[in-house]
Amino acid sequence: MQSAPPESPLTPPSLTGGLRSHLDEEGARGALIAFVSTIALFILALVVIGGSENWPTVRRSFFDFELMWESRGPIWEGFTTNIWMFLVGQVAIMALALLIAVMRSLKGPAFFPVRLLAIVFIDFFRGIPIILGLLLFGFGIPALRLPGLPNSAVFWGLVVVVLSYSAYTAEVYRSGIDAVPDSQRLSASALGLTQWQGLRYAVLPQAIRNVIPALLNGFVSLQKDVALLSVLGVREAVREAQIITGRTFNYSPYVFAAALFLAISIPSARFADWYTAKDRARRSQGAGQ
């Protein structure tokens, strides 16, 4: 199971102590090397970039901090739109994708049409570029002015993103379902559970746990892709930055918007890494027993 605690009475204290401080030394030296080499690389990059004769021009049109400060209001407001679109989209994707994955993994001839429907859905929405779907739905459907249907670009844009991501995410879930041994379904049936109950109580909890790392990666990528709705004129961060850039012929607002995206996507990515590592440790520990 776990490694013996260092205080183990079987290990002479001097040995543990020696081993400990040796490891600490290693760790400290490693951190120092990493720190120094990072700083060195950073300075080198500054010298190379800053020393180039084009740098002042680049700086003016990409890193105009005054303009960034002036445009913070609309871009930040746009960014809140990104965030809620992301949150709403993510919840919808997790639910719809799970439904499709379950439909696809139902067994038996009676469920053939259900499986077929799921496969057609996945093939279709995975095969169409999101941007094309956005143009088609986001402009096309509101233009029809169908009674009883929402006409907003945000709504149809989100629908497209959700459908497209769900097609991918359904396959993620399905790989998780496939990784659960058939014997688990068999023993659920043996207990008299219906196929649906077997999935619900025995298979899906294990399947979802299997794919959480992959789902987290999907999260990170969705955070960026909701910005595609800017092509529909949705006033999110990229669109707002585009408007200001169009007026000032300066790209700094884009850089500011990029910084906002990074501020959430980098922590998310690190969290996904951390969780994946933890999950792997849990598994190998389970397998070791």
């Binding site: 068999l186 023993s187 049936s189 043996a190 207990l191 008299g192 559970l193 109580y201 025995a202 294990q206």
Partner: protein, 246 residues
């Protein structure tokens, strides 16, 4: 008659596995299926529990025809417990949840009653301190005992056991077999496939020797295991003795 099978046939593709099996099991009877690997013991047990569709034949449970189309298979499976070679507990649930899932969800048993029954059974079979553990914290023998107890919570009329000791370390076999011995003592109707001839001799009322999809010989253990009439039974037992399993 608890269980009555007539002319059971089953193929997997071109592989004709069961070629017309007749088998009767009386109330409170313990029947051991023996026979060479691949002769169809597991398949037969799974067809009894309707986990495997049969191609021909009939299965009666308590005089009720259950092999017809349109029979509610889930309802039948609640009356017949089955335990497999690999324990197949659900790894993401505590032992207690494993035991009560079927009774609560499939049979609509009250949760409190299900949990009380499960806890009592776990205590009786020496797992009283494992109620809230997860399966991966149990030894193989404990997991297999928990799997057997799981099949008992719903109070089945028949228990099917498919080589429940062959995945276990030899020193753990005894604790699982003693559970079966106790169940036999309580009069539970059981059909078990086993390679443990000594155990079959000890616990079975009747031994059924199968070979290549047929029932070759059936009778009390003293007769089938010691003085088999059929040549194929004799050959099989001779090989088993050579392998040191008798």
């Amino acid at each position: 008659m608890k269980l009555s099978m007539r002319g059971i046939q089953k193929s997997f593709g071109a592989n004709h596995v069961l070629k017309g099996i007749d088998l009767d099991v009386d109330d409170h009877e313990v029947v051991c299926l023996i026979g060479p690997s691949g002769c169809g013991k597991s398949t037969l047990l799974r067809t009894v529990n309707l986990l495997e569709k049969i191609d021909a034949g009939t299965i009666y449970l308590d005089g009720e025809l259950v092999s017809e189309r349109g029979v509610d298979a889930n309802a039948i499976r609640q009356r017949i417990g089955i335990v497999f070679q690999s324990y197949n507990l659900f790894p993401h649930m505590s032992v207690l949840k494993n035991l009560t899932l079927g009774p609560i969800k499939a049979m609509g048993m009250d949760r409190t009653i299900a949990e009380a029954t499960a806890t009592e059974l776990l205590e009786r079979f020496g797992l009283g301190d494992k109620v809230h553990e997860y399966p991966d914290r149990l030894s193989g023998g404990q997991q297999q005992r928990a799997a057997i107890v799981r099949s008992l919570v719903g109070d089945p009329e028949v228990l099917l056991l498919d080589e429940i000791t062959s995945a276990l370390d030899p020193e753990l076999v005894g604790e699982v077999l003693s559970v079966i011995r106790e169940l036999a003592g309580r009069g539970l109707t059981m059909v078990l496939a086993t390679h443990e001839m000594g155990f079959a001799r000890d616990v079975a009322n009747r031994v059924v020797f199968m070979d290549a999809g047929h029932v070759v010989e059936t009778g009390p253990p003293s007769q089938v295991l010691s003085e088999p009439h059929e040549v194929r039974t004799q050959q099989f037992l001779a090989r088993v003795i050579e392998g040191g399993r008798l």
